[in-house]
Amino acid sequence: MSPPLLGIEVGGRGNAPLMSSSASVDCISQSGSGLKERNYLGLSDCSSVGSSAVSNVSEEKKNNLNLNATELRLGLPGSRSPERDSDFNVLTSGKLDEKQLFPLLPSKDGICSLSQKPIVSGNKRGFSDTVDGFSEIKSSVFSDGKWMFNATGSDSGTPQSVVEAKLAGNAGINVMLSNNSSGAQPSMKKEVPTRAPQEGHNKMNGSNNNSSAPAAKAQVVGWPPIRSFRKNTLATTSKNNDEVDGKPGPGALFVKVSMDGAPYLRKVDLRTYSTYQELSSALEKMFMCFTIRQCGSQETPGREMLGENKFKDLLHGSDYVLTFEDKDGDWMLVGDVPWEMFIESCKRLKIMKGSDAIGLAPRAMEKSKNQN
């Protein structure tokens, strides 16, 4: 096709390496069907921020974006209305010079990202769960903390939901404009880089997240591209995992609770409690119907701030003892270790009769001896 490009090394260099291709490519494109220059970023020409080559992030970037580069940048096909273009320019004109650099500084980043691409409306290529995707963005490995992701983590809350809501409704340009006006530093997290519309398909005219808009959390068919066998298998396995041991991690931590003599088991989410007292009250409530003598009857009212010791007292006062099975498979008495440690190692709970539990500690030791 085109002659090999000379003397260009990929990566590592400050100059936009691949941009030198622009010259010869220009020829091709111009001799071809006449590439229309598109302002990809929606900025005016001289502010062509890095949609051309991205060199090493860690390098300070003087902008030597050749204007040639702008010609190559194939931006949105022409369905954008003129007002919108000028809107963008209005937004960004003041910031053009700053824009030339690699987005090292937060505020520039924010605006830059905003003005980049209009949010596409509800055609297939746009889906607003990208918004969710963004909230997971970690800071880049190459950064030395300059990136703003984490910094603006806190403000992302509301605006993000605004975006989401609007996307589900009627987004397009309006969202971005409103975002921009609402804050000087909108988080990058709100950037929704959905597909630009194409020619001949009048989906986008600023106002349409039309009827074909996917719901905010819509899953795209066939994405991510994994075989259905794998998808189905892993779905089943993870269900099984949750059954067998409450997987530690953020989110719910459900463990089974059994009680001697009860006809069925219960499950509790350990994360909803923060102390042993809370757990024990909840369990009492759950299993009260099964006890002959109510566990809670000995509890003195007005007892606040029960520590772990008090929890043990509570148990010892009643017929029942709360025990748990830890990661190693050993049965232990609840209440010996700090709550956080307990949560991490608890796999299962059991409410035992006091008489059974008296020998618990020695029995547990024996068991672990046998297993070694």
Partner: protein
């Protein structure tokens, strides 16, 4: 020149045939058969292995008439995107007509390898009963049969060496198919039923393994518990490839010790997979002794292994050349891989939670791998995010990629740091990896990337595009630039009629083109079909979106076209229109 030519003409055919025996690659043989008529003739009578990349490109009859001595047939059916639910189940790709023709034609079939084809129990029965020397059945991503079909194979193929089922949903008829292997069957070399969901008779399995002394590869399914596995291993210490089945369910210490002992006996295992269910931490150390010999490790179904256990395991595997994992391994885990597995050539990282949960890998992991594993040549990487800088670094570190497939969980995500499209990153990959044959791109991408691909990806044979590009130019750059392109599949991208019709002759040089949710209209497809009689242009209208009373301007939701020598297929279902 004349005399040399005449010398060649007197070359005895037997010698030619002998020389051609050294040619195993079908591409080489194809090339050889184009040299001259006599070479064509010699080659066609001597070819035993035939590869057909698209079962509708040719008919079984023509296959048999050209290659009467065929013994091994590889067939591929549905388009690749069928793997991702984009193609209705009954679109086609039936193996039945092939088996029938070969049975009628007296072909001495020994090996059948199918991918994305519809295989019925009837087909399997035919296979088992009409080909007395049948030895090897490999099915990948197929469907349509049950364990009854497997029973037929087990019962009747007296010399069966290989039964390999990969990623198939097989309906379980509870017929104890495994018990159908007769006691006289001792020829098995490879048995892989890891994907089966049903139960198997453990006693039969153990006996089978005991009598097949040549068994090298055994991959069992989840229904085989650890104690059975341990007994099997004691019978088959010669195994080279092991799929462990569930490997779960906390065994008692006795079983565990026996397992350890059994594993230590298996000094030849170089390939390991399985761990299909929950794995208690205490069981994994049993496999540490074999880890240091492993060259291939597939933990991509091991959702029950937590990342710290995973990492511990991998630290023992310093000879690894091929690794498949879930993204629960994390970037840190990939760092461990990078520092441990210096021989790594192929890596696949699958998503554990397709809704983009907490477990995920990012560009960091990829860069770490590229830095630590210089021999890397094939990657499939599902990640949360990516950056151009990372891809550029990867391209610099690993110029040897043959396959590079990246899928961001959010298909249009831009560079996570600069918010730019990922054009430059992927561009760096195609520029640096001069031998790149297969590429899948994702993330925010513009026509610029396709320009790079067209310019640099000279060896590219397969390209997958999703949610990318801005205009017809993108597709045009690719079709125009990639001279060796064989398969192009595009979804949800703004490429339309202009690009489609720009160079119609190109499609005859390719195996197939898939376009779904693009901008192609019915009229353009009709034009193409009309002008190119040796292409089948199929429209898949599975959701009744299109009216038969054609408005040529309406967009086509799914189009699949492929070159063919046999015209429109006769088994197309109602919703498939061949124009």
């Amino acid at each position: 020149m004349r005399s040399f030519q005449s010398m060649l003409n007197y070359f005895p055919e037997e010698v030619l045939e002998h020389v051609f025996d050294f040619l195993t690659s079908h591409r080489d043989r194809n090339a050889v058969s184009l040299v001259c008529k006599s070479w064509y003739t010699v080659e066609r009578f001597s070819r035993e292995k035939v590869f057909i990349g698209n079962c509708y490109a040719i008919s079984p009859e023509r296959l048999i008439s050209r290659f009467p001595r065929v013994r091994s047939l590889t067939l591929k059916g549905k388009p690749h995107f069928a793997d991702f639910n984009l193609v209705p189940h009954d679109w086609g790709g039936y193996v039945q007509p092939w088996i029938e023709s070969m049975a009628k034609g007296g072909v001495n079939l020994e090996e059948l390898r199918l991918k994305r084809m519809l295989v019925s129990d009837e087909s399997l029965e035919l296979l088992a009963n009409f080909f007395p020397n049948f030895k090897s059945l490999v099915l990948v991503s197929c469907e349509g049969f049950t364990t009854d079909g497997l029973a037929a194979i087990a019962s009747n193929c007296r010399f069966l060496r290989e039964l390999d089922l990969q990623e198939i949903e097989v309906e379980d008829r509870r017929g104890q198919w495994l018990s159908c292997f007769p006691d006289s069957c001792t020829s098995l070399v490879s048995l892989n039923f890891a994907c089966l969901k049903g139960e198997v008779n453990l006693a039969s399995l153990e006996r089978l393994v005991a009598r097949c002394r040549n068994l090298r590869s055994l991959r069992v399914n989840h229904a085989v518990p650890i104690d059975a596995l341990q007994r099997i291993l004691m019978q088959a210490p010669q195994l080279v490839d092991l799929g462990t089945g569930s490997f779960g369910q906390d065994p008692d210490s006795d079983s565990y010790n026996k397992l350890e002992t059994a594993m230590q006996q298996c000094t030849s295992i170089t390939s390991l997979s399985g761990f299909l269910e929950v794995v208690t931490a205490r069981c994994l150390p049993a496999v540490y002794p074999i880890c240091r010999h492993l060259t291939s490790l597939n933990l991509s179904y091991a959702a029950g292994i937590y990342s710290d256990e995973l990492v511990k395991l991998i630290r023992h595997c310093n000879k690894l050349e091929r690794l498949l994992v879930l993204d629960t391994i994390g970037d840190k885990g990939l760092g461990v891989v990078a520092s441990t597995c210096k021989e790594l050539q192929e890596l696949r990282v699958f998503p554990s939670d397709i809704h983009g949960g907490n477990a995920a890998v990012t560009e960091e992991g990829l860069v770490a791998i590229s830095a630590g594993c210089p021999k890397l040549n094939s990657i499939l990487y599902f990640c949360q995010q990516m950056t151009n800088a990372a891809l550029i670094m990867v391209a610099k570190n690993c110029p040897n990629f043959i396959r590079f497939r990246l899928a961001t969980l959010n298909p249009t995500i831009p560079d996570a740091v600069t918010m730019q499209p990922l054009d430059e990153g992927f561009g760096a990959i195609v520029k640096s990896c001069k031998g790149l044959k297969r590429l899948s791109v994702s993330g925010l991408l513009t026509d610029q990337l396709f320009l790079y691909i067209g310019i640099y990806a000279e060896q590219l044979e397969m390209l997958s595009i999703a949610f990318a590009g801005d205009s017809d130019k993108g597709m045009f750059y690719v079709l125009n630039g990639c001279k060796k392109l064989k398969k192009l599949e595009i979804r949800d991208s703004p490429f339309g009629d202009v690009a489609l019709l720009e160079d119609m002759g190109k499609y005859e040089t390719m195996r197939s083109l898939w376009m779904s949710s693009c901008e192609v209209t019915l009229g353009a497809c009709k034009t193409l079909a009309q002008k190119m009689p040796r292409l089948n242009v199929e429209i898949i209208n599975d959701s009744d979106q299109m009216e038969a009373s054609d408005d040529d301007k309406q967009r086509v939701e799914k189009m699949y076209l492929y070159r063919t020598l046999v015209g429109p297929r006769k088994d197309a279902p109602d919703f498939v229109w061949t124009l």
